[in-house]
């Protein structure tokens, strides 16, 4: 405490020593301050004009104090405890940031990188492969059809006056085009006509779809074969009435279900061994006598030799095509029937020689002549006519039932309309009269009809 007093004493007699000029500096500062102080005290008396000056002095004073306070204010920043959680967050953000960096999508320029278009190239090459396969398959089908035609042209022109009529020509008597009619890339047809007893013969070559890659691949799982279908339309009086089906087992059930005439007529299943034909065939026949006549020595030999190629033989005088798809309504209209012989053969197109296929055609023509010569005996004829009458009866019954249903519906409709009219009648009096009239009419209907008979005594 003694030392602290000494400087204060010393400061009073500082005017004589060497640092006098510094003191002048201190005194100026003190002098300005006392002026300031004197002005502070005097403003009240001189009015406002000077107040802004005094205000600036106050500001400077405050700033000094503020500075003093700021120093205290940021003291806590130095204190490390304040920033306990902050460091980890900032570091964590720092670490994950590059991962979420997403490259904005800007459209590539077309010509810059072709290899990113690998899918498009794949698609185009697929189309090219499909097109090449289309050309190859188309020409192969054409070659097969042409080779079949060349092998059969002579045989057909011997048996038919016109081979290859396409229906366009005006005059029928000119010779046919001798060409196959191309229905689609894999279906060719040939119409031959001009033979005694036979309206015409339609040959349809249904080849595999070699030109379509999709079905070609599907064929790997489900193998198929080229098919030759020959359909002969007989004249009305050239064939007796019987129905017969010789087909391999798998096919016969489907045919039996699909075909109208087969489902109606040929119900008897015969044993193939009895007629010495291979057991892989099923035999459905209506008239046994006709079956025996058709399966003569030549036909049996053909069936044995070409067991693999023959798919089915369908001979029928009541042929009316396939059944209607919707069986909700029993068929009421008697379908238009034709006398046909249908042969379906499987062609093994890998074998180049057409001899076997030619033999099949001779079998068809022989069968045609055979069927023309068949005449049923009296009993067989009666049995056949009875079957046809039964079927016709069935159709008429179905038609009659349909007509009755329609009439009943009309009657119900009329009665409902009558009742509705009575209900809508405004005047109760008229309503009652209408009801009575209705009841009397129904009562009269219910009473059984009786005739009054007068008995003369």
């Amino acid at each position: 405490i003694i030392f602290s007093f000494i400087p204060s004493l010393y400061s009073t007699n500082t005017e004589d020593n060497e640092f006098a000029e510094f003191e002048d500096f201190d005194e100026d500062v003190e002098e300005t301050r006392p002026e300031l102080k004197q002005q502070d005290s005097s403003p009240q008396t001189e009015g406002d004009a000077q107040s802004p000056k005094s205000q600036t002095e106050d500001d400077t004073a405050e700033e000094e104090e503020a500075i003093v306070e700021d120093d205290d204010e940021f003291e806590h920043l130095q204190d490390s405890d304040e920033f306990e959680g902050l460091d980890q967050k900032s570091n964590a953000k720092g670490k994950t940031e590059p991962e979420t960096l997403t490259i904005t999508k800007i459209p590539h320029h077309l010509r810059t990188n072709w290899d990113s278009y690998y899918l498009e190239i794949l698609m185009l090459s697929g189309l090219a492969v499909y097109f090449l396969n289309f050309l190859a398959g188309k020409s192969k089908n054409h070659r097969i059809a042409q080779s079949w035609l060349n092998a059969h042209k002579k045989l057909l022109s011997d048996n038919f006056a016109i081979v290859g009529d396409d229906g366009q020509g005006t005059d029928i008597t000119e010779p046919g085009s001798n060409e196959l009619l191309k229905e689609s890339e894999n279906v060719y047809s040939l119409w031959c006509t001009g033979r005694v007893g036979c309206e015409g013969m339609l040959v349809t070559l249904r080849l595999l779809k070699r030109h379509d890659l999709v079905t070609s691949l599907a064929r790997i799982f489900k193998p198929q074969q080229d098919q030759l279908t020959i359909r002969i339309n007989m004249d009305a009086n050239e064939m007796d009435s019987f129905v017969l089906l010789i087909a391999n087992k798998k096919l016969s059930t489907r045919l039996q279900k699909d075909m109208n005439d087969l489902s109606l007529y040929s119900t008897e299943k015969k044993n193939p061994e009895k007629y010495e034909i291979p057991t892989s065939f099923t035999l459905m026949s209506e008239i046994g006598e006709a079956t025996a006549a058709v399966l003569d020595r030549r036909m049996v030999a053909a069936l044995n030799n070409h067991e693999k190629s023959i798919s089915y033989i369908h001979i029928s005088d009541q042929y009316s095509g396939q059944k209607q798809q919707d069986d909700t309504q029993p068929q009421a209209v008697v379908p238009q029937t034709k006398k046909v012989l249908i042969f379906c053969f499987n062609l093994d197109s890998e074998t180049k020689d057409m001899n076997e296929v030619q033999k099949l055609m001779t079998v068809v023509l022989n069968c045609l002549d055979k069927v023309k010569r068949i005449r049923l005996s009296k009993e067989a004829k009666m049995k056949a006519d009875k079957n046809r009458a039964r079927v016709e009866e069935k159709f008429h019954k179905a038609a009659h039932a349909q007509r009755q249903e329609a009439a009943q519906a009309r009657r119900d409709e009329k009665r409902r309309a009558e009742k509705e009219r009575i209900m809508n009648e405004g005047d109760p009096e008229k309503q009652r009269k209408l009801e009575e009239k209705e009841n009397r009419k129904e009562a009269r209907k219910r009473v059984p009809k009786m005739k009054m008979m007068k008995v003369k005594a």
């Binding site: 590539h108 899918l119 697929g126 189309l127 006509t193 007893g197 339309n233 095509g321």
Partner: protein, 115 residues
Amino acid sequence: MPNYTFLAFCMLYLVFTPYFQLALFFRRYPKAPANSVVDDPTPDYMNLLGMVFSMCGLMLKMKWCAWAAVYCAFISFANSRSSEDTKQMLSSFMLSISAVVMSYLQNPQPMSPPW
């Protein structure tokens, strides 16, 4: 004497010519033979599918739909019957090719597969 006799002679000659006899048995090629029932539905289905795919390709800008439409048009062309008119074929081709072109004009990015 008008030449009735000559006309009668011609008629008689005609009746006995072989061709005339056979003509009794001629029948024209039946336009819709019964076996057309076993018709092939593939071209019609493929045509319809092609139309649907090209609509999707155009409207929803899906490139793989447009490419599928081109394939469907090709398949329906391959299986088309010769009796079918070519206008239908041409329209399905034009529609599918325009679908592909339009979808690439809108954004030339390579196609992203549907899976």
